[in-house]
């Protein structure tokens, strides 16, 4: 009896030793991959920062209004943000590869799913970035056009343009990562329709006088000319 227990114990210890013997090199490989990955991530971050500096990315972001947006949200400068993003993407990829090197079968599928999901996340982030740039650009264009046309509520108009473009961008990004896409699509349709209807009603009620002026100006320019006769050129 005692021999049987001892043998079983011995066998178990042998199995454990064999498993540890098998696992230790994998652990070491994982640690190596993570450390090398960390170094590569730091290198990528530095390269990304330099490349963006050469491409005058800060000036571009400043002129597009993204830098201002990030400052308002207490986020780092656009160049730092993109460099940090590069660091984390690269390091996460190496982390996942390292975990995969452990050879845990149950984790392998999950990791490959995460790895397959990464490009989609990247595209979604890109959509968000371009969308925010476009939203700022269009909002500023609307604001300037409204101010130069002496329209009241210029900022409200610009804000509405920004809101609509951001709304469209966020729903596209969520659609990209397939996150509850039916819900997102339905919510977007309802929200977009409601906003447009609201704007149409508000515009119709609030700007009857303006619409009349615009139509009068279009169809009888002589009337409008009487208001202002100075020439600028």
């Amino acid at each position: 009896m005692a021999d049987t227990i001892m043998n079983s114990l011995k066998e178990m210890l042998n199995h454990l030793a064999a498993a540890v013997e098998q696992f230790l090199p994998r652990l070491l490989v994982m640690l190596m991959i993570i450390i090398v990955g960390w170094l590569i991530a730091i290198l990528s971050k530095t390269i990304a920062r330099r490349a963006l500096a050469l491409a005058k990315f800060d000036a571009l972001s400043e002129s597009a209004g993204t830098a201002q947006l990030l400052r308002n949200a207490a986020l780092p400068a656009p160049r730092d943000l993109v460099a940090s993003l590069t660091f984390w993407v690269v390091w996460i990829v190496f982390l996942l590869l390292g975990i995969d090197a452990l050879g845990v079968v149950s984790l392998r599928d999950q990791i490959s799913q995460v790895l397959l999901f990464l490009p989609q996340i990247f595209v979604a982030v890109l959509i968000l970035f371009v969308g925010f740039l476009l939203a700022n650009f269009l909002a500023r264009a609307a604001l300037l056009a409204a101010v130069n046309a002496n329209l009241p509520f210029a900022r409200l108009l610009a804000g509405s343009v920004r809101f609509l473009v951001v709304l469209l961008t966020v729903s596209m990004a969520l659609e990209q990562i397939a996150l509850a896409h039916r819900t997102v699509l339905i919510a977007f349709t309802i929200l977009f329709g409601a906003v447009m209807l609201g704007l149409a009603i508000a515009f119709g009620i609030a700007s009857q006088h303006l619409a009349r002026q615009v139509l009068q100006k279009s169809f009888s320019p002589g009337e409008a000319e009487k208001e202002e006769e100075i020439t600028h050129l």
């Binding site: 000036a59 201002q68 500023r140 300037l144 101010v147 208001e227 202002e228 100075i230 020439t231 050129l233």
Partner: protein
């Protein structure tokens, strides 16, 4: 270290491929042969006025240059209203009805079509090619929409080149004090301070240049791109000044033109003109950065005065535009203007209607800071120019208030003060310009 002048006219530098001239146009040029004076009228749907312009030009040539070989060239950009037909019908065969004399030499009239997709450069390119082939000694450009043109305009534009050997003639118009406010309050003062020449109409539609300058311009590469960007008048003038060609100006009289049914709005006019000025400053930086003060430009012609139609000004609208801009565009203006300037502009927004005054120094600082920001591309350039418009409205309101009862001489003095402020603050422009992007 001096930078190379980007618009230096270097004969060795090949330009873009010259436009292929149509056979019919070449035939007409060959038939006309060499000429001394070539007058140019580009047209696009100007049926109502072009006949009058063509007649005035022909009469001007016969009356003032009867012994010279002359030609009038009309280039049409694709009119739909029968403009080319009006041009063809506007031949004067017997000048005795007008002048009691006939030309001593044959006057040629050439018609051609230009590629309107290239903008005004397409027309000017045609003129330069014709001038080169016909070995013209003087060329003048005249707008097709003029109502006030007289034969004397030909003499005023061409004589300084033919008799005094100048290379570029800019126009001077007799204007109402509230006409050409953008030129008076922004373009001319900044141009004068930057380039160092007291030219009153840097963007005048009528101008003349020598055949020598035309040939050099045609050979030069970078300059053609410039003309596309800043327009022919400013482009040719800047090239003449930057390359030390002899420049003068000539008084033409009042400039009355037929208004188009769809006039471009102020935003478009402002964007085009101020954009061209800033673009020119950027391209000519090496030429203007080291110039101090300004010198008088020889001026020809008798500056007479006529009563002009009174001009109605909607002051309320101007001030409202300024205040709305300051109120709503804070975030944009803050990114363009220096903190002190922005504070001063905000203070202006709080002034009462009657007490409103936009000081010259502040206006000049605003314009220079916008020019430097344009150079550094702080914002999309169109947006930047649009952000300046409300402030310009404030300056115009202030100018109108100050000169309400002023005589022409007093208005001139007032504008001279603004020009001097621009010259005084030029080091500030140079400093802001050279700040890192």
């Amino acid at each position: 270290m001096m930078k190379a002048n980007p618009i230096a006219i270097e004969p060795g530098v090949p330009g873009p491929e010259p436009a292929e001239l149509p056979d019919d146009f070449l035939r007409q040029l060959t038939a006309a042969g060499e000429v001394d004076i070539l007058l140019f009228v580009p047209s696009l749907n100007n049926r109502d006025t072009i006949g009058h312009v063509m007649n005035a030009l022909q009469l001007g040539l016969v009356k003032y240059f009867p012994r010279e070989r002359t030609a009038v060239l009309n280039a049409d950009g694709g009119s739909h209203d029968g403009t080319p037909q009006v041009v063809r019908d506007s031949i004067i065969t017997d000048f005795r009805a007008f002048l009691a004399a006939n030309p001593l030499r044959t006057m040629h009239r050439i018609t051609a079509a230009y590629d309107n997709s290239k903008g005004s450069w397409g027309a000017l390119e045609l003129l330069l090619s014709a001038a080169e082939l016909m070995r013209a000694k003087a060329c003048a450009v005249v707008s097709p929409d003029l109502l006030s043109i007289a034969p004397e305009w030909v003499e005023s534009l061409v004589r300084p080149i033919r008799r005094q050997e100048f290379d570029f003639v800019a126009p001077i118009y007799h204007r109402h004090k509230y006409e050409g406010l953008l030129i008076k309050n922004l373009v001319a003062p900044v141009f004068r301070a930057a380039y160092g020449f007291r030219i009153r109409e840097p963007m005048g539609s009528e101008f003349a240049f020598s055949g020598q300058l035309a040939s050099r311009l045609l050979e030069s590469g970078g300059w053609q791109q410039r003309c596309c960007e800043v327009g022919p008048a400013l482009g040719v003038m800047a090239a003449a000044i930057a390359n030390d060609y002899r420049t003068c100006q000539s008084f033409l009289g009042p400039r009355i033109y037929q208004s188009r049914r769809q006039e471009p709005d102020l935003v478009q006019v402002f964007q085009d003109s101020v954009g061209a000025l800033f673009q020119g400053l950027e391209a000519d930086h090496a030429c203007w950065a080291n110039r101090d003060g300004s010198s008088q430009v020889p001026t020809f012609g008798f500056e007479y005065s006529v009563a002009l139609q009174p001009v109605r000004v909607s002051r309320k609208r101007l001030l409202q535009g300024f205040r709305l801009g300051v109120e709503e565009l804070g975030a944009i203006l803050e990114a363009i203007l220096a903190p002190d300037t922005w504070r001063a502009v905000q203070d202006l927004g709080k002034l009462s209607d009657g007490g409103f005054h936009f000081p010259d120094e502040l206006w000049v600082r605003v314009v220079y800071e916008f020019a430097a920001s344009y150079h550094r591309s702080v914002l999309a350039r169109d947006h930047l120019l649009q952000a300046l418009l409300p402030l310009y409205r404030g300056k115009v309101f202030s100018f109108v208030m100050e000169t309400e009862r002023a005589t022409t001489a007093e208005v001139e003095n007032r504008l001279e003060e603004l020009c001097l402020a621009c010259e005084r603050l030029k080091p500030y422009l140079v400093e802001r310009w050279s700040q890192e992007k």
